[in-house]
Amino acid sequence: MLKKITIVLLSLLLVVPFLTFSTSAAVYDDYVVSTCNVASTNYSFRSAVVDDYVGKVYYYYPDIEVLDLQYNFSLSDYFVTGDVFSLHIELIVPLTYRVCQAMFGGVTLSSWSQTQTVDSGGNSVYLLSGNISGKVTSAFSSSLVIMLRLNSMPQSQKLGVKNITYVKNNDPSISANAAANAGADKITGEDYGYSEPETNETDSGIAAGTNLLESITDSLDNFNASLNEDTTKILDDLKPFKDFVDQVFGFLPDIVLYLVTFAVMFVVIRKVVGR
């Protein structure tokens, strides 16, 4: 029975990562993607390029709990009203981040895919990537706001934007697909009598549940990362004791050590076998 359970668990361990990754496959392969280098465009922040961090590099201090990063897009350069837009955002953040949301043009992104990596400074960081897509309306906001919520950290650590890729998609065929995806298609747009509730409590509940699940999953990742670091620190702290213990046992002659060992082994084996 135990063997069967082990085989099933191992099989799932092999399959689950593929399932997870297949659901987060990029949908931008069919689009003409332009890369907008954050550092080279006219943003409101300083255009420092430090290591892997493009754009403004923030130094995070322990007393900050919620941090709003605001990137001002110059919309007249990129989008006009009616454009179908997509943004692909990549951030480098410390391992201790908890919630990360981005808002652009009234559209909110709440889910990110994250990869743990190491920046050129040797720090373990998360590379977060997420997508926002929508249609430019007259009430389009011109700023991209990224909100990060971070746990307290013992020392300052950098975080910043690595890359922002935007897609301006005015190709008629692709726009048609986008319109279909938005619900204009006769089949997908038909709700068969279903009417959305007046209040969006259900949607809010689902979103809250999703955020909670992501939050506790992230907390596991954070704990895992801090566990490795803490263990290494404990092992480093233990090293000075080795010299002390060696000196203590160094006073005892070898013959005493062997006699004690033999005596303990004799007594234990006698006790075990004698029962």
Binding site: L12, T188, E190, G209, L213, T217, N224, K242, V273
Partner: protein, 74 residues
Amino acid sequence: MKGIFNAVVTFFATIIGIVEFVFKALILLFNLLYQGLRILLSVIGFLPTPFIIGATGLIVVCILYKILGRENQS
């Protein structure tokens, strides 16, 4: 239909998220055990060599005795 599709997608995304969480928790538990063993082995490494050899021998002898004892019963 779009609402139904969204519900189905959300449902399976949640299921996958829960499975991901469970396996991450399992991996965390194994990691916890592994890190505990690292610390334990490092502390054991402080002891003199005769003690380590003796303790290892005792463990082997006790396990063998236990196994052989069970085989005699069956």
